[in-house]
């Protein structure tokens, strides 16, 4: 299975080209309105491109030059949405058997396919229930089984965890990791944990364009783009490799180790949790002076943001330091916490 896609949709400012190799899981990251759902809609055949072409194996999904358009049901592309959308008038088993039945399987064989996939998602005991009798997590598991039972050549997942309780999302994520092995999958998400857990490769979309792509860890642990760094919750510093670290645009030098040649363009990443905030200049380590732009509560920590760098500090400390927007403070971190790599 090879999937090659290149399409533009002027109305939504969308222009994306990407490919999926056989057995590869690609995560598409990006904020709301970045064009993630448009990508899936075009691939599944629920939207039509102004211009472009997509090929899945030897099937032309659409080709605006030749005017070709394969209707959704003949594409072999299954779409799992945020909400499970189980057919309310069918039992769980009938829902999962829907794909095989539509493909022309006998009642008997569709039933055994359905039971196989229900067992695969550990939901066999729910077979006779109606969708209205299921919890959100159960329903989404069955939606996964239903999508897989139709034996798609390409599986599209549209934020499958987004509508679930935080408490059930991890179990579904684990289950997905198991059943997606060896499949060609495009998973849209805004959660980088999904990307780390499930994806071989990530594609970062912003405003209808790809801003960065590559192997998951390389992109998310060493972002080259402020937008990707934001998704990965990393501080990104960009400059030129110096003798002892990286020299920023403002001329200041941040210390850190790297094998990178001095003088070459470099990027550096540091986690906000590794950054300290103090009113006075730290006596040692890296330091950046900044004005507090805003404070954002994040669980049991508060993220203190400045133009260049952010830090996660304890709420009590934020109160003690009287951190308010406009306050000038020092951000400090150890050289060992900094990863320097080619920009």
């Amino acid at each position: 299975m090879t999937f090659a896609f290149d399409a533009r949709l002027a109305g939504r400012g969308f222009a994306v080209a990407l490919s999926v190799a056989p057995g590869e899981t690609v995560a598409v990251l990006g904020p709301n309105g970045a064009g993630k759902s448009t990508l899936l809609g075009l691939t599944a055949g629920l939207l039509r491109a102004d211009q472009g072409r997509a090929v899945l194996d030897d099937t032309v999904l659409f080709d605006t030059d030749g005017g070709a358009f394969t209707p959704p049901h003949q594409r072999g592309v299954s779409l799992l949405a945020q909400e499970p959308l189980l057919f309310p008038h069918l039992t769980v088993e009938e829902n999962v058997a829907f794909g095989p039945r539509s493909a022309g399987a006998s009642r008997q064989s569709a039933r055994s396919t359905a039971r196989h996939w229900l067992a695969e998602v550990e939901a066999l005991e729910l077979a006779d229930r109606r969708p209205a009798q299921l919890s959100g997590g159960q329903a989404q598991r069955i939606a996964v089984a239903r999508a897989l039972a139709s034996d798609p050549r390409l599986l599209l997942l549209d934020e499958p965890m987004a509508a679930l309780d935080v408490s059930v999302a991890p179990a579904l994520r684990r289950m997905l990791r198991r059943v997606l092995v060896g499949r060609s999958v495009v998973i849209v998400t805004h959660d980088i944990l999904d990307a780390f857990t499930l994806a071989d490769r990530v594609v970062v979309l912003d405003a209808g364009r790809i801003v960065e792509q590559g192997p998951t860890r390389e992109v998310l642990e060493r972002p080259r783009n402020a937008f990707t760094a934001g998704l990965a919750a990393l501080n990104l510093l960009v400059g030129v490799r110096s003798e002892r670290g990286i020299r920023l645009a403002d001329g200041s030098e941040i210390f850190g180790a790297s094998t990178l040649q001095a003088g070459s363009p470099a990027a550096a990443a540091v986690r906000p949790s590794a950054v300290r905030v103090s009113p006075d200049e730290p006596v040692s380590g890296n330091r950046i002076r900044g004005e507090v732009l805003d404070l954002e509560p994040r669980g049991d920590l508060v993220r203190v943001r400045s133009a260049l760098i952010s830090a996660d500090v304890a709420p009590a400390l934020a109160a003690d330091l009287d951190l308010v927007p406009g306050a000038a403070v020092w951000f400090g971190f150890d050289a060992a916490e900094l990863a320097i790599y080619a920009a």
Binding site: G45, P71, H73, G76, L85, F87, P88, S102, P131, S150
Partner: protein, 269 residues
Amino acid sequence: MSPATGYAGVPRWVAAIAVVGALFVLLPLAAMVMRVNWGGFVGLVTSESSVSALLLSLRTSLAATVLCIVLGVPMALVLARSTFRGQKVLRSLVLLPLVLPPVVGGIALLYTFGRRGLIGQSLDALGISIAFSTTAVILAQTFVALPFLVLSLEGALRTVGTRYEAVGATLGAGPTTVLRRITLPLVLPALVSGSVLSFARALGEFGATLTFAGSLQGTTRTLPLEIYLQRETSPDTAVALSLVLVVVAVVVVGIAHQAGSTKYLRGAL
């Protein structure tokens, strides 16, 4: 609707007017029931002409309902699921029989299917005569009842939306399979209640039937026509038959109400 403890917020004077409105609907029915000659009721209702009118009404109304479903489901689907130029105008025109005086509908049908009518002429040449036959009764009833089915089904189709249909398509189901296995089951409650309403409208049809089909006993004289005729000669028969129609109407409304609240859809929509 709201629980006894909740804030209702209906001013007393509004409630008072509502009571007057309810009485306005219920009082005439009660007045009619009070006039029923219970001693002769069975005899009046089972007389030859009564039974013949009742059976004709049921037969033609059922046929008209089937015709409404056959024609109305595709119409509702096209109106709800596609967009084309003049769609709004078409929808208004399709719903016209709802507001048209039935007599006018009857005249329109006469000039379409009558012996000299637009289509009737050609049909006449083929030896088919529709006007003043039982077929004419069914056509007149279908004409006035069709909008009820189209209207309720189109609304339900819009409410259900296309998301389930899209899922079905990505699971490999073609448009006909999606229609048969997803769309129609999802709107089944609306289809049932729409059909029941169409049946009720067909059962009560008077003006268009009289104009287009006439009033021949056993052929075109349906129950409403029989009631109208008996009113002159035997008021007791008219009242008794009216009561039969009222009972049928109450049953029909009950069924339509039940169908509209099918359990599985409540969680889904």
